[in-house]
Symmetry: C2
């Protein structure tokens, strides 16, 4: 289960202030829960079963089985919404299926060359994820890795090792038919950053060995609960209200902090979700990810004593899984850390978390999202929670969460420089 603890922020803002904000958001919650007013082609994610239902799960599991029969490595060629959700889960859970290598998320030749070195000697399947197949990074990377794969195993076998995830009826689907590549549908009614619970990510995660049924089930349970819960009992609305209040009171930045380094990629998924959904019309909180305790040794001083420009959301995993324990034991050497004798590192890490929350709460609003365990079910819950709360939060801010008009500015200049026809 997920829990949202707002006690420290409530103490910071004063009794009742957040409750007023939550109550004021009741109408927005009701509209968002019903998907009212949103473009129909943007909220396919709101019904988890639509894109992570029985049929979709069977389809991606069948494709994933074919991938795993043929390959030990899946190259996920995609950027932004076509990459972040998969990476968030696979890097955190380290499942036992195909290794996933990420490409198509950079234009750096050094990075692409490094990826090709990494692939050498492996049986590789390419998954090119590109909603409209015009984005530069996956486009050029797919071409280069496809040619590399053909040079390794020949064109016929390469064709059996390529799957493309794109919009049905698109040029990419035509190419799949022409060349015998497998095709995986990118939902037409879900924007890239909201695709965590669709075949776009279910396929690479299933290939990686993640329990995608648990992921979907967690998401379904969380989304249903959030769409049904009243304003006063609704964690997604409460989180959106915290964000809105912080913004209204002058915060420029939301810091998303956790004490588990493997949650960093979830942070990057979260960053895209909120930055693209809210950063428009001169508005929005800049979402920034902090990986503690390491970055307490870089950002800690600033958070405590620097410009008061932020509020902080902690993500806390409350129950250890296998591998989350490490006894400090005693030391034969008088190392000065005797106060740690016999403790477990899990508890030491949580003592650091609690101390940091209390210290930061002296100077800024602090909230904590607790997830019970770091597993597929809870990743599903997190995706549902943040997608729904982002929808509410952007609506409270008065912007359209589902477009991203600002990214055209650099693209126009770039395509002009590269001689691409205007589109």
């Amino acid at each position: 289960m997920l829990t949202l603890d707002t006690e420290l922020a409530r103490a910071f803002w004063g009794e009742g202030v957040l409750d007023v904000e939550v109550a004021a958001g009741a109408d927005v919650l009701a509209r968002c829960a019903a998907g009212a007013g949103a473009p129909k082609d943007a909220i396919g994610w709101l019904d988890v079963d639509k894109w992570a239902g029985k049929k979709e799960l069977e389809h991606v599991e069948e494709l994933a089985t074919r991938v795993r029969e043929r390959a030990d490595t899946l190259v996920l060629i995609g950027v932004g919404g076509s990459n972040n959700a998969s990476r968030a889960v696979a890097e955190a859970l380290r499942p036992a299926g195909c290794r996933v290598v990420y490409a198509g998320n950079t234009l750096s030749a050094a990075e692409l060359n490094r990826v090709m070195d990494e692939l050498s000697g492996h049986d590789v399947v390419l998954d090119c994820v590109a909603k409209n197949f015009e984005t530069l990074e996956p486009g050029v990377t797919f071409r280069l890795l496809r040619q590399w794969l053909e040079s390794q195993v020949g064109t016929a076998e390469a064709a059996r090792r390529i799957v493309c995830t794109g919009t049905p009826e698109s040029h990419l689907e035509t190419l799949c038919r022409e060349h015998g590549w497998a095709f995986n549908p990118f939902p037409a009614d879900v924007g890239g950053r909201f695709t965590a619970l669709t075949p776009v990510h279910l396929l690479p995660l299933a290939a990686a060995g993640v329990d995608v049924r648990a992921l979907a089930e967690g998401a379904r349970a969380e989304m249903s609960a959030l769409r049904a819960a009243s304003a006063g009992e609704n964690c997604a609305l409460c989180y959106a209200a915290v964000r809105h209040l912080a913004y209204e009171r002058g915060c420029a930045v939301e810091l998303f902090a956790s004490f588990e380094p493997r949650l960093r990629w979830l942070g990057l998924w979260w960053q895209q979700l909120f930055a693209e959904s809210e950063g428009k019309e001169g508005r929005g909180l800049l979402p920034v990810v902090a990986s503690y305790s390491e970055e307490l040794h870089s950002l800690g001083q600033f958070v405590q004593d620097g410009s008061h420009v932020m509020f902080e959301t902690f993500l806390d995993v409350t129950t250890p899984c296998d591998g989350d324990s490490c006894s400090v034991g005693d030391s034969s050497v008088e190392d000065g850390f005797g106060y740690l004798d016999g403790r477990d590192l899990w508890d030491v890490n949580h003592a650091a978390l609690a101390a940091t929350q209390r210290a930061h709460a002296e100077v800024l609003p602090v909230v904590t999202l607790g997830m019970e365990r770091l597993d597929a079910e809870h990743y599903g819950r997190l995706f549902a929670f943040f997608e729904f709360s982002c929808y509410i939060s952007a609506t409270l801010l008065g912007v359209n969460p589902f477009d991203q008009p600002g990214v055209e500015a650099y693209k126009h200049r770039m395509f002009a420089a590269l001689g691409k026809d205007a589109c």
Copy 2:
């Protein structure tokens, strides 16, 4: 060589505005160049030869040779200033010496267990870097990895595979004498985040196979030039003036962007340097790192159209090295990316950079630091440039760049919770 291009920021602010700021900083530049007014125990880094001179280079090279004779893997146990500079160089240059594994930078048991898995089957040397040996992360990690190493090779051989980098006359040096571990001096007159060009980092970098003489030479040349250059010709002052002007005009955030993913760790080093040096007394710009082009697909929308809370510093590598080239070639498939036929990815990436700079400069101040090549010499130059400009920038802001009083707040609470005696 390094170059600072401020043309876009000048256009944003209007003719002459930045020049006034630079001229106003001439006195501060003169004082900083002389180290006037700074505590003597804080500016040992200002004279590169003092800690990266002939004697120090010979010492670390001798130690590094011993490491490489014994090990294929060096575990750098350190956090913040004891980790970031080494990682910045080693992860970018990928030298051919010892593999470096980073530990002591987290309290996550899962992460430490992962590191121990990574070490399995390798010949390992531990380098524990801890100025005062009271910091929790390296302290507890050193204990656990030392016990692991002893269990692998026995106490006597383990002792030959341990080096500690700490303050002379400290408890850590005493332990080294008692247990036969090698000792590497942590300069008493350099704070952690200013140690890039001292034995603290020269040792792991030499072990990793980095040309530390070129690193030191680049730093020496850059620092000498910056300390001697007049205000109107001084890139370090100019960068500090840009930061100060941006801050005075209401920016809350500096975004540090590059188009080479392997520069990310340099960004994290830069982030600590500025966040800890300036984030105090309720002041300072929050330093945030952006890894483009990937994060144009998450942050790009916000930067272009969201809250106008930031200015942006680009780091651009101007000349390709080996491995920075990748011809896109032609495609046998009509993939829709024909406009890339025959181009090199290096040029495509730079077209994206130039387009992004121009697009962002429409809405915020943009400056670009150019480094000619991504090599050891230029890393030395970058460290010198940023350390010196940080000193100037913090002085312009009116804060002491060399302390970090704010980090005590969480430490006090944490040590109390863990039962450590007050210190």
